[in-house]
Symmetry: C2
């Protein structure tokens, strides 16, 4: 039997430990608050079916042949126009590229900007996919505690000061994963200023930005980017389909050129057929009406979850009240250690993700869980939260 | 204006210099021998159209929702069965994974096996996409000269001996890109033995293995893999569609597990809709009949190109006679420096790729060009080769 010597950075990166707990997920009767999936009823299946048939009948070579790494030009232009109109994002010196999901945009940006041993500063907790991408590149992570209006900016400054190799600030300012929190305008401005002051690049990850169901939009950090230091990552995963793996980045042109080179050696280009679908979704379909219907659906599901939490959970558990996105974050009291809580819930076939899955610093467990409301049915939301309430009161 | 500090490994990786020469490619009247594209008439458009409609009507959630990183299980099983039946590839200790094109399989394997500063040994010349993937990971390249029956195995042993950090031997033994050469069985055995002896992993890249149009199949190196040291990379790009970006790896399970972790942080999973299409292509369509028709098409186009080369080119140019795949490799005499030849051809709107595009060692220019016969029409093959002949005789 051959024993393998893996690269140092990959040797340390393990598949998620929570997989074990989730083995029975998907069995009949299980209730999954653990996913990050959009509601399947939100997929515009009929539109995709019609568009697919038309593309294959009239543009089959374009849709099936090799394509260019930068992405399908009309899609890039449509995304650029929407980013400008809706998010004031993208200057003349910026370039929009198509990538294979938001995940790839994050990973490629870190790859082109950072050497092994450099530091990424992120919200603590943060999106596991991004944290593991940084780890896979041999980067160090420094977490900045999350507050109700975004990361603690004093702690951010401290982290920048004490990490001369801090190259990137990674943030999800809108409907944060896992916290559901939106960073205030004031803090966004401060994060931008600090990045500029300390010579860091910001990755603004905004997969949920289209999914606001109450309150008003807060300007993106990218909209403040007069210095060319923000790489904005977006995706069609939450408004069209995640299985198609089509996302985009809006980046200063010089950075975008490097991202193209890095993307070329990873997957040559993103599936071109679904780039054509995404383009038609933006230009031939009532995209805004479709997004509005998703917002309504999630507003309803989120309210149902928040109302049931208020009815069923004991007073010593606190949770966030998101105005968009997919997640509620529940902080547990000391008397309820999260690992036992998650196992007990799984034994009752209710699946939630423990805080430890989202940590930069794995040595300081966060006693909290993430709940997703977009995937489960209304009935399961009520039933599942009742079960969590019973476990919490025991 | 912000000046950026990119990662060392990416700072050195430049987009291909031949892009400049190819600016007028695609203009009316241009003849492209430069592509690596399959013939668009080989795409089974009607089948894909029918399968797409059925999938979107009956399995839309499966096709559009998030999926697992390893790939769609029935597709993995179908690929595994075909590899065993047709290529004697894949032991019980091997795992098949779906990746986003053969390119991703190569890049991920190198990522999990190699630290920065490790060495990859490859045929000289070799596939630019793989070489740049290795470079993007901060790896050193050592080229082993290509001969008519595969790489020089004495030089391979020398390279392994003198590079204690040689972790990977990268080879395209069947219908090599760019040379069109097939490595003999004897040399395949020797390459395998040497890898075992010196503790290296072999990446066997086999994108063209299904495209043999004369002679008999030579066993894959993976078929000899009793030690679990070969990662086999395949793809649907040349038999179904390259634009869909669906490939696969067959790897020892321990390596495959690491590849899954590395893939998850790059793109989460491969476009699931086209994994379903690929699965139906393998199980519900006359895949073998379809591949046979592609072989016939390429046999015809290759013969036409070889015959025209024999008629039109002066005696001091020599070229390979492929028995499959997509490429002919022409070695030019000293009197015809390749850079000038490529520029002169481009001025006549005939596009060929210079040897320098495929080199491990960029300091020793190879005076040769790669010609592709799968993309151009019959008429353009004859017309284009005649123009090359005129340039060569001037």
């Amino acid at each position: 039997m051959t024993s393998y010597k893996f690269s140092k950075k990959m040797a340390e990166l393990k598949p998620s430990a929570i997989r074990e707990i989730f083995k029975s997920l998907g069995q009949p009767g299980s209730i999954a608050f653990s996913a990050g999936n959009p509601a399947p009823e939100s997929f515009p299946v009929e539109f995709i079916n019609r568009a697919a048939a038309d593309i294959l009948s009239n543009s089959s070579t374009l849709a099936l042949q090799y394509s260019i790494t930068e992405g399908y030009t009309p899609l890039r232009e449509a995304v650029e126009a929407r980013l400008r109109d809706k998010f004031s994002t993208g200057k003349d010196s910026d370039t929009v590229l198509v990538v294979s999901g938001g995940q790839q945009g994050i990973e490629l940006t870190a790859k082109v900007m950072c050497d092994e041993g450099d530091t990424v500063i992120a919200e603590e907790p943060s999106f596991i996919g991004a944290l593991n991408a940084f780890r896979s590149l041999g980067l160090n992570l420094t977490g900045v505690p999350m507050e109700g209006d975004g990361m603690n900016v004093e702690a951010l400054e401290e982290a920048l000061k004490s990490n001369p190799r801090a190259k990137i600030i990674y943030t999800i300012p809108t409907f944060h994963n896992p916290c559901g929190i939106t960073t205030s305008l004031e803090k966004r401005r401060r994060i931008y200023e600090l990045a500029r002051e300390y010579g860091a690049i910001i990755i603004e990850d905004n997969p949920y930005g289209e999914l606001r169901f109450s309150g008003s939009d807060v300007p993106t950090i990218k909209s403040m980017d007069t210095d060319g230091i923000v790489v904005y990552c977006g995706t069609f995963s939450k408004i069209l389909s995640p299985g198609m793996r089509v996302g985009f980045v809006c980046a200063p042109e010089t950075i975008a050129q490097k991202i193209v080179v890095a993307k070329q050696v990873e997957d040559v280009h993103t599936n071109i057929f679904f780039q054509l679908i995404a383009h038609r979704f933006m230009t031939e379909f009532d995209m805004d009406g479709h997004i509005e219907s998703i917002r309504k659906l999630y507003k309803h599901k989120c309210k149902l979850m928040l109302d049931t939490l208020a009815e069923e959970l004991p007073d010593d558990i606190v949770w966030t009240k998101p105005k968009g996105g997919l997640f509620v974050w529940c902080t547990l009291p000391e008397r309820l250690p999260v690992d036992k809580f998650v196992r007990d819930a799984a034994a009752e076939k209710v699946f939630v993700v423990p805080g430890s899955a989202f940590q930069c610093d794995l040595s300081k467990p966060i006693n909290a869980i993430r709940l997703n409301y977009s995937t489960p049915s209304d009935e399961d939301i009520v039933k599942g939260i009742k079960i969590l309430g019973q476990i919490a009161r025991n």
